[in-house]
């Protein structure tokens, strides 16, 4: 027996409404089958991340960004992500934004370090993650600040070199005063001060060496690292190379002054400060090397800025080189 037409219409309408509801749920509800968990993080700079952007964990896509909300109180972003339920954070996990480049979209990377919670702060720092303080929005996962790009790092390193040179000079003067006084009191403290300064110098020297390499035209990372291309063209025009050179000149003068001070101290030959002498010799050599590296960095930065200003594609294309002809035309 066939239902009457009114019943058919009612059933038809109900089926259509049900279909619309199912489609709406599938389309609008982020995780209709409850396969994901919601994890929130706080970022200071989302670098183009928007809802729908994929979240990766060790190279595998594990979810997507659901929402990005600006927190007007502290000008950070509350980012909510839908992450596969099988993903569980370790005792030391955090989220960081992998920058966009001309060939890839931005994405969020989840990092889970297999270290104990007590060592998490140091491990995170070693990884290069400077955590963004979580707001009151209940972020579950620590977010990392946007890492400084090469240009910012170079500018900071040059500024830092001047500070280190000033500190080293103050240290040398203090040490000189101590050695000219009773010769014993405070020498132990100075060893610690000198050791700290040496560590800072070693880190700065390492950074300056890396920067020097990175900015070397045609050989450095800048020529091949596509992720820097977009930033490079914009950032290069913002760097005040003349100001950096001014700071470098000041640093050079301070380094020279530092050399003279240390040479004077070392010439005094006080045996009580044997360890300090050794450390100062190392610090002095390190400062000289750092200064030279930073000077090259500044020079390369200036050359690169000029190149990029004239031809923004230079960072991708690099420079054409040709070998010299054989002497006298022989093979």
């Amino acid at each position: 027996m066939t239902p009457d037409s009114a019943t058919q219409i009612r059933w038809g309408l109900a089926a259509a409404l049900l279909a619309v509801a199912v489609v709406a749920i599938l389309a609008l509800v982020p995780d209709p089958f409850f396969r994901q968990q919601a994890i929130a993080t706080t970022l200071d700079d989302v670098e183009g991340v928007s809802p729908g952007v994929q979240v990766y964990f060790r190279g595998a896509p594990v979810g997507a960004v659901r929402s990005v909300d600006l927190n007007r109180r502290n000008r950070t972003f509350a980012v909510e992500m839908g992450i596969d339920r099988n993903w569980q954070p370790s005792a030391c996990s955090f989220a960081t934004v992998a920058s966009a480049n001309p060939l890839t979209a931005p994405r969020i990377e989840l990092v889970a370090l297999e270290t104990a919670a007590a060592q998490c702060v140091a491990a995170r720092r070693a990884y290069g993650c400077d955590p963004v303080p979580a707001g009151r929005d209940g972020a579950m996962l620590t977010g990392c600040r946007r890492p400084a790009d090469l240009f910012e790092t170079a500018a900071l390193a040059i500024g830092e070199a001047a500070n280190v040179a000033r500190t080293a000079n103050a240290m040398a003067q203090t040490l000189s005063g101590l050695l000219q006084g009773d010769g014993t009191g405070g020498a132990g403290d100075m060893v610690q001060v000198a050791r700290n300064a040496t560590q800072t110098l070693a880190a700065l020297n390492n950074l300056s060496t890396r920067l020097d390499h990175s900015f070397t035209p045609g050989r450095g990372d800048i020529a091949v690292t596509l992720s820097h291309v977009r930033q490079a063209t914009g950032r290069a025009s913002e760097i005040d190379v003349a100001a950096l050179n001014g700071i470098l000149r000041e640093t050079r003068a301070l380094v020279a002054q530092n050399q003279a001070s240390i040479a004077g101290i070392l010439a005094e030959g006080k045996s009580s400060a044997g360890e300090v002498r050794t450390i100062l010799e190392g610090a002095s050599a390190s400062l000289v090397a750092t200064s030279a590296n930073l000077e090259r960095t500044s020079s390369s930065l200036g050359a690169l800025s000029e190149r990029l200003a004239g031809d923004p594609t230079f960072a991708i294309r690099g420079q054409r080189y040709a070998d010299p002809p054989p002497p006298g035309g022989q093979k």
């Binding site: 004077g264 010799e281 050599a285 070998d323 002497p327 006298g328």
Partner: protein, 196 residues
């Protein structure tokens, strides 16, 4: 006809993509000097050598004699260390043949005299008749905060062939020649007029 053309294009692209890059040649400089009779005084410290422009780079630089104002850089030839560092090592090694107490940039101890050098040219000059390795550097001696002596040293040497070893040998010779002239001047306390 069309599939054939597409096939040729595909093969050409594949060949271009699969073609290996040029093999870089990294050249080492090991300047050496004949041992002398070192004297105890004065003591020397050699400051890190500064380099002018592209002279400080690891990429091999050359100048075409027809266009002396244009510095070019080689595609596949590199120095193992910046030429300024090689010069600093050579200055230390050269001075040690005549003076007993000489320290380099890695150990900037107090000394009677400080040697401050700037590398001005370190390049190949190419000409149809042959190529030459060229070095030129300015050097100042500082004692007790005052410049007491300044000079300029340069040397040239023919490059025998295009091989990296021949180029490295020519540059090693010019460094040894120029540094030996400097050390000789220091030993006798005079400054020879520069030939460049």
């Amino acid at each position: 006809m069309k599939p054939c053309a597409l096939m040729v294009l595909a093969v050409l692209s594949a060949c271009a993509a699969l073609k290996g890059g040029d093999t870089p040649v990294t050249m080492r400089l090991s300047p050496a000097f004949a041992p002398g009779q070192p004297v105890a005084s004065p003591s020397f410290t050699v400051a890190p050598v500064q380099a002018r422009g592209l002279s400080g780079g690891l990429r091999y630089g050359y100048v075409d004699a027809a266009a002396p104002g244009e510095i070019r850089q080689a595609a596949t030839y590199f120095w193992e260390e910046p030429p300024a560092d090689s010069l600093a090592r050579a200055l230390v090694a050269g001075l040690r043949t005549r003076f007993a107490t000489v320290t380099g940039p890695s150990l900037p101890l107090a000394a009677d005299r400080r040697v401050v050098a700037t590398l001005d040219r370190f390049e190949e000059v190419s000409a149809p008749t042959g190529a030459q390795a060229v070095i030129a550097f300015d050097v100042t001696q500082v004692a007790q905060g005052k410049a007491i002596w300044a000079g300029r040293y340069c040397a040239t040497r023919p490059i025998a062939s295009a091989a990296g070893t021949a180029r490295a040998a020519a540059f090693q010779d010019v460094i040894e020649q120029a540094v030996a002239a400097f050390v000789q001047d220091v030993a006798i306390g005079a400054v020879t007029a520069a030939s460049c």
